[in-house]
Amino acid sequence: MTETAPWGEVADSIEFVPAEYSSKTQSETAAQEILRCDPVDIDTLVGAGLPFEYRSGVRYFDLNDLYNLGMYSGRSNTQPELAFRMLFRFASRPVERLLSEQTWDFRVLLECPECDGSAPWRFEAPDIDRFGGRLADVTEPRPSARTAEYTATVTTTGARSPLVAPALRQLTQDYLEAGYRWQMIPPAMQADYELVHRLGATSCIAASLFLAERFRAAGYRAEAKRGWFCGVLGGALDLPHACVEVEDEDGVYKTVDIAKAQLAARLSQDTRDFQELCIGSVYNKAIPSTAPGDAPLAHHDCGSALPVHVRADIQVKR
């Protein structure tokens, strides 16, 4: 695609979120703002297949679809392009900064939409000890209605521990070279990782589930684990995160942050050291949790069928 492809071509290059996973919450005005485009461009996108719903005479769109259109528009001024350019600045810097100890004020707000009343919460907490980090000042969510909070001080640290097993390295390389296209995808759909990859797309959770399965098929103990990516604009953007944990042939558990490696390569040319760090080593901007890759981070026992919203605010401790 050329740098300034018409919006219709951009739409053709995107795998829109299938209806069963789609949540159309963004108004036409919001869509114009996200994509920095005109009403006529929105008409073009709709004509090219951008799914929408009419509510009270207004068209509403899925945020993931808008994000992906912006990411791959080549226009340089859409909000998603600006967001990822900002987020991945760190990946071009000396990786030593990612290997030192870093302490975070970790706060997660849990919200149960259409809550059926006070009940206990189950939260998949940070699980950092295994990788040299530590937890302190933990406040667990108490039984309540609608909202609750988990807070802690989390110290992360990095370590160079690249994958050593040739089979693991080859499977990882094969995945990176397979041409899957990174997209923003709703977490529930990411768990359906076979569908995501059938569409030629990828994302951190889907990629981790997929790669973990390949590692297991090759005879290694491996599991995709969810977690958090730190330093994301003071919690202003909440991005899902997951990586693969695999027991290497040297007996050491390694983390493979496959989607970050792929995304860094796409967004910034000068990230080779960071990409290598993603292939087995641990770095101080990621906090693993106790949640498996395809499991929610929180549950409220009130009986509501709707999933709990989990919003993290992770800031450098000052």
Partner: protein, 82 residues
């Protein structure tokens, strides 16, 4: 001189919130959603342009962005003192 950059900030927010008739100095820009999570990035690029300094996304404290007052203190006070 603080008037010009903070005025540019004010115009940025008002342009994106046509329903806002005025922008009090102490309005919580985050909680009121005057700056939402996506516009937040554009806003940071605007601040970089106005201050001539690069913002490290890891060092951001949302409290610095809550009001026009806190923005002025965090990003423009140094210029005011010059």
């Amino acid at each position: 001189m603080t008037t010009e950059p903070i005025q540019a900030v004010r115009e940025f927010i008002l342009e994106r919130n046509p329903k806002l008739e005025e922008l009090p100095d102490d309005l919580d820009l985050i909680d009121s959603r005057a700056i939402n999570s996506l516009a937040f990035i554009e806003f940071i690029f605007l601040l970089e342009e106005l201050t001539g300094e690069t913002v490290d996304p890891e060092d951001l404290n949302l409290d610095d962005f809550r009001t026009l007052k806190s923005l002025e203190t965090r990003f423009f006070a140094k210029e005011a003192a010059c």
